[in-house]
Amino acid sequence: MLLGPSLALSAVLFGIGVIGVLVRRNAIVIFMCVELMLNAVNLSFVALSQYHGVGGRVMVFFVMTVAAAEAAVGLAIMIAVFRHLESVDLKNINLLHG
């Protein structure tokens, strides 16, 4: 009976995460917004796993692991970038400029 509301909550949190990624320039805040989106997806997994079996819950574990790995590597990159540019503002990080 909580399936529909849970999915809706998941959608709202995901959308807020997207907006966050789009409006912030601080790379670390963007990381946090990505974590928010991942959590929204986790919520969908858990909600559906009540009816669809245990696979969804196992998947949440994997998502958490990937999130942890991503945070570790991503923050390490940020430290390296900061050491180089004295900033983690995305407007200064444009090495890919064509």
């Binding site: 959608a11 966050g20 601080n26 959590n39 796993s49 574990f61 945070a71 590597v73």
Partner: protein, 186 residues
């Protein structure tokens, strides 16, 4: 409305407010703390969805470990909101339009029911959720038989063993990668 539903909506509203505050706060540290509140609320929701173990993990791993890592890096780099990193109004409008579109697209699932899920899986309107969604019932039975942890542990170390091992490898790689990237000289 049952008690469970009321508690769910309380957590849901808290999570949404926390998320909005998280993306609008100028100071990254404040953002991080608001994110922690979102994660806590979600942990509550997980418990309500009978995923108590995942709820605990949420608090331990996310709110505990990962967010501490974030705060630690923010403080290490001394990013305490000296200058605003928010983009201008046009960016906001664009972002809200795009993000809103995604939200609206997916929020149509608000009245999604188990019977609809059963219908999508079986392709037949005749059958209802109790007949089709046997996996869900098995999960319930497993939780009753072996407890919340055992119900997840059993497939994790059985059917999903190889993905599980690969995840371990991923973590190892991440550890090595993080050390290599963050160290000044190797």
């Amino acid at each position: 409305m049952t008690v469970v539903q009321i508690v769910f909506y309380v957590f849901a509203v808290a999570a949404v407010i926390g998320a909005i505050m998280c993306i609008t706060q100028r100071n990254p540290i404040a953002s991080a703390f608001w994110l922690v509140s979102v994660l806590m609320s979600l942990a509550g929701v997980f418990v309500l969805l009978q995923a108590q173990f995942i709820g605990v993990m949420q608090v331990l791993v996310y709110a505990g470990a990962i967010m501490v890592l974030f705060l630690f890096v923010i403080m290490l780099l001394d990013l305490g909101g000296k200058t605003s990193d928010r983009r201008g109004a046009p960016s906001w409008v664009l972002a809200v339009v795009v993000g809103g579109a995604i939200t609206v697209s997916m929020a149509q699932l608000a009245d999604y029911t188990p019977d609809q899920l059963a219908h999508e899986i079986s392709g037949s309107t005749e059958l209802n959720a109790d007949v089709v969604l046997l996996e869900g019932q098995r999960l319930q039975e497993a939780i009753e038989a072996r407890g919340v942890v055992g119900a997840i542990a059993e497939p994790l170390f059985g059917f999903y063993l190889i993905p599980f091992q690969i995840t371990g490898l991923l973590l190892l790689t991440a550890v090595v990668g993080a050390v290599v990237l963050a160290k000044r000289r190797i």
